[in-house]
């Protein structure tokens, strides 16, 4: 019985192996072997970023140059170390990585660099100097959003802060920068603070907890890393009119962007609370295209072009003055300035809408949604 089982398993593995070898041997002859090591795949941002990387690899400009293999490391830095080692061993030319920890990978990345492998980190950072980093300036993100909120409140009022994942550099930098701004205005008081884990669902439970002992009328503004869409929905549920929504500095979810459109705007597929409400917002994001851009830069680096070690992406900021609805969401359309997508196309309001970059004409809305590149 036991032997039978093992033989069957071996046969299965062998079958899979033959397929894998057959495919890769035929195609990978002259392609660059590039690996993507993702973190935990079970959240919306990660899945969207992965779609964009896959779309980039499938674009006609790269499809016959790149053999991309995607692997998931889960939330475990130890596994990512192991995974990167295995990628180096199996002959990677470049590794694009969403680093689970900015520091824990340093040794293994250095080892990879020593063997001539280009390592590109996207969104978060790897502190090892030989790695290439592609991300936004998180301090700027915290500062710009906090300054916007202070200005909206004329330097006076009670605010609630919902932060990200405690113990990460990104959360630390954003929160510290924002609090430095708030500290300059003695009349701005943070009356409630909760850990939002960068999730709309968590933001709702945390806000509900805070509001159990408080009232929306005691609060003047919200600073959230993720959760403005949820906060606005909660205010509408509590009976506020759209014109009374509190100013909210927060993430670039498509739901939040749609709410920023003037109340009464006709939008296909909109249904409250995922509907225009004229909400006062500044919407920023760690853009999910960073992985796709990292892949593109990695190919350039392999081909011998000069790529800077650090690429600081421009902070995508949208306010009520710059909000504009896209029709189809092609790259060309976004280049012309649109930055929100119809609910009929993007049915998940928590979906991250900051997918446009000057540098990535290969990927548009379909890339982020289903991994299809632009033509």
């Amino acid at each position: 019985m036991r032997i039978g089982l093992k033989i069957r398993r071996l046969a299965l593995l062998a079958g899979m192996a033959v397929c894998a070898l057959g495919v890769s041997a035929a195609e990978a002859a002259e392609k660059h072997k590039i690996f993507l090591s993702m973190s935990y795949i079970g959240n919306d941002w990660q899945a969207e970023a992965a779609n964009m990387v896959k779309a980039m690899a499938a674009h006609k400009s790269l499809a016959d140059k790149v053999d991309l293999q995607v692997q998931v490391a889960g939330p475990n830095a130890q596994r990512q170390i192991q995974q990167i080692n295995a990628m180096v061993q199996s002959g990677a030319e470049a590794i694009v990585v969403y680093p689970i920890s900015p520091t824990a990978l340093n040794q293994v990345v250095k080892n990879a660099c020593d063997k001539g492998v280009k390592v590109f980190a996207y969104d978060a950072e790897i502190t090892e100097p030989c790695a290439y980093n592609v991300h936004i300036d998180q301090l700027e993100a915290g500062r710009v959003t906090a300054e916007w909120l202070v200005k909206k409140l004329n330097g006076k009022g009670n605010i609630i802060a919902i932060t990200g994942v405690p113990g990460t550099s990104v959360d630390d930098q954003r929160t510290k920068a924002a609090k430095e701004v708030f500290a300059k205005y003695p009349d701005i008081k943070i009356v409630g603070e909760a850990v939002g884990m960068w999730s709309q669902a968590v933001a709702r439970t945390e806000l509900s907890k805070i509001l159990a002992t408080r009232n929306w009328n005691d609060i003047n503004g919200l600073w959230m890393q993720v959760g403005c869409f949820t906060a606005n929905s909660m205010q509408l549920e509590a009976g506020k009119k759209a014109s009374e929504l509190l100013p909210c500095a927060g993430e670039g979810s498509n739901g939040g962007r749609i709410q920023m459109l003037p109340e009464g705007t006709e939008v296909e597929g909109a249904a409250p609370p995922y509907a225009p409400a004229g909400a006062q917002r500044i919407s920023y994001a760690s853009p999910p295209y960073s992985g796709a851009l990292a892949l593109k830069l990695a190919v350039e680096a392999i081909e011998g072009k000069d790529v800077p070690k650090t690429t600081i992406l421009p902070l995508p900021v949208v306010t009520n003055e710059t909000i504009k609805l896209c029709d189809e969401g092609t790259w060309a359309e976004m280049k012309a300035g649109c930055n929100a997508f119809k609910p009929s196309l993007v049915s998940n309001p928590g979906w991250f809408a900051s997918i446009f970059s000057d540098q990535t004409p290969e990927v548009g809305l379909n890339a982020a949604l289903v991994g299809q590149p632009e033509n």
Binding site: M1, R2, L5, R9, L10, L13, A17, A20, L21, I41, G42, D44, A47, E48, A50, N51, Q69, V70, Q71, A73, N76, A77, Q78, R79, I81, Q82, Q83, N85, A86, Q89, G91, S101, P102, T103, A104, N106, Q107, T127, G167, T168, S169, G192, E193, S199, Q200, R204, S208, K209, A212, T213, R214, T230, M234, A271, P273, Y274, S347, N348, P349, W351
Partner: protein, 691 residues
Amino acid sequence: MISVSSPASVGFGLRRALARNRGALIAASVLAILLFVVDWISAGPLTYFDVSFLSSGGATSALAAIGQTIVILSGGFDLSAGAVISLVNAVLASSMDPMAPGASIVLWTAVGIGVGMAVGAFNGFFIAVLRMQPIVVTLSTMFILQGVTLLVMDKPGGFVSPDLGSFYLGDAIAGWLPMPLVVIGVVLLAWFWLKGTRFGTALYAVGSDADSAAAVGINIVLVRFAVYVIAGGCYGLAGVFISAQTGSGDPLVGNPLLLSMFAAVVVGGTRLGGGQGGPVGSVFGAFILMMVVNILLVLNVSAYYATIAEGTILVLAALAGSLSHTSVLAVQLRAARARLAAWRAGILPSQLERVDRRLRVSGPLHGKRDAALPPPALYRRNAEVLRYALPAYVCLLVIVIVTQIWLGRAILNPGYWNSLLVLSSFLAVLALGQGTVILTGGLDLSVPWTIGISGIILAGMVNGSDAALVYALPVVLVMACAIGFANGSGIVYLGISPIVMTLATNGILQGFALLYSQGTPAGFSSPMLRWFMTARLGFVTPVVLLMVVFVALAVLLLGRTPFGRRVYGIGNGLRAARLSGIGVERTLILVYMLSAVCAALVGVMLTGFSGQASLGMGDDYLLPSIAVVVVGGALITGGRGHYLGMLGGVLLLTALQMLLAGTTLPYATRAILYGLVVLGAVMALRERQPH
């Protein structure tokens, strides 16, 4: 004895040794097969470098798994292991001086092990001396340590001397033996020495049967205390190793290691509950789990399938480890054959003539209660329930009063109570499922992605239409039944341990959820569902009314139905339950189905609450679902607990979180306070009499 052994006794001794170490041996052979497969499939042959990388990759988990195994052998459970690794990493990285790159390996290793042992002593004090349940104590410790770690180091950074790295990751014999293997070997040698001492015998004895161990004069307080201290030392060493490996600090580095550590222990052949197995198997188990990373890479398994493949490999490894003449699967197959034969011969009990074969007992036994013996008073009948359920409610009262004093607007504010009940409703539903599983002595780790996939499928089908809800809800609940059936069948018919089976199911469900949603869950809740979770009828949200009905039904289900009695029966003793004619298999499968249905219900409720479903929406509910059950007075090993107690636990933890959320205390302080309150709340639950 060595000189006069006859060939026969050698054979006997060898067979016995094989039988005793079967778990470890099978884990070793699975590892060998995996190594062979990787070697065979990958482009080049395995070189020394590959082996060296693999050994350093698995070493942290292996070292921690050794500690966890020792705890489990003694009948305990340690959830603080991952947090200890993070703490040691943070302490080392923040106290080494980057200006003086040289460092003493002995000193810093001692610091790491010392920190781990100190935490172990903290755990040991509450568990051994105060006789509290290991799972609650170590869960509280986990929260406290996460807070302390963030106080030591609030973001990744710091510096660990390269000397440490070159020592721990280098070669013991260049080109032949990597240092990580030597470190693991040294720890295992120390274990073998320990096992041979009186303490080692006592350890297995306590794990097998604490009462008997105490009866033969073993000081079980001392043994248990020492176990946690030794295990803490192992986690400390694992923390030193990961510090050496990464060269810097990250306050979150150890936390995700926890669940895979348990998987490693179980795959390595150690039985949860104690008394059987050993750390050698766990080391192989840890390496098997690490090898999976390489297998997925060489097979180029697509990202969405990765968790499915991992789950499958986990189940297969556990199956391979348990296959033998006496394994559950073999017994089930034999039983099925016997049933088939009996059916053919026409002697199956159901095929026999129906004759009343009950014993004829005359007298009042079956009839009315004797009038001379009045039923015991209400409080006497419920003394047990009260004793274990009351502490949660007393603490709840204290928390509410503190909230009133600190934040105001609590006791007389109907909005506060409504929020408390709405936010509690998720855990209250989960507590019935998880609680029933725990009452039978199991654990359901598939809760997070049962929630996730239910919410995602429901939102996708409903897509804002109330009419669609009418058929979407039954579809989701039927799917949950299937998930629970799969869990239960794997546990009952294949004999896979509940932890491994449900952990694997969780991974497989995650894969399905990703495939179904293509990474972007579509759809949103219907207006009615959202109304149900967020609207107000006067002062209450509609879901609160449902909760009242749900609680009443749950109390009836566990307390007043045959199903409930069977659950308690199984938890109090599997064999006794089977001998008293309980259909153990059927009941257990129903229990896991109940748990899955409860989780699916929570997925539906969360979708209504948030308005949409998201990937990972259930991730934050696993540990709390276990915590509330135990805080409410249930015994993690099964057989004791009442739903009203669990409900008290739910309300207590939710009220506590609401209190902490209303303050502006830093997160680290909140985590520490949370852990301390949980620890304090269950202080009253400790066993009165020493064993």
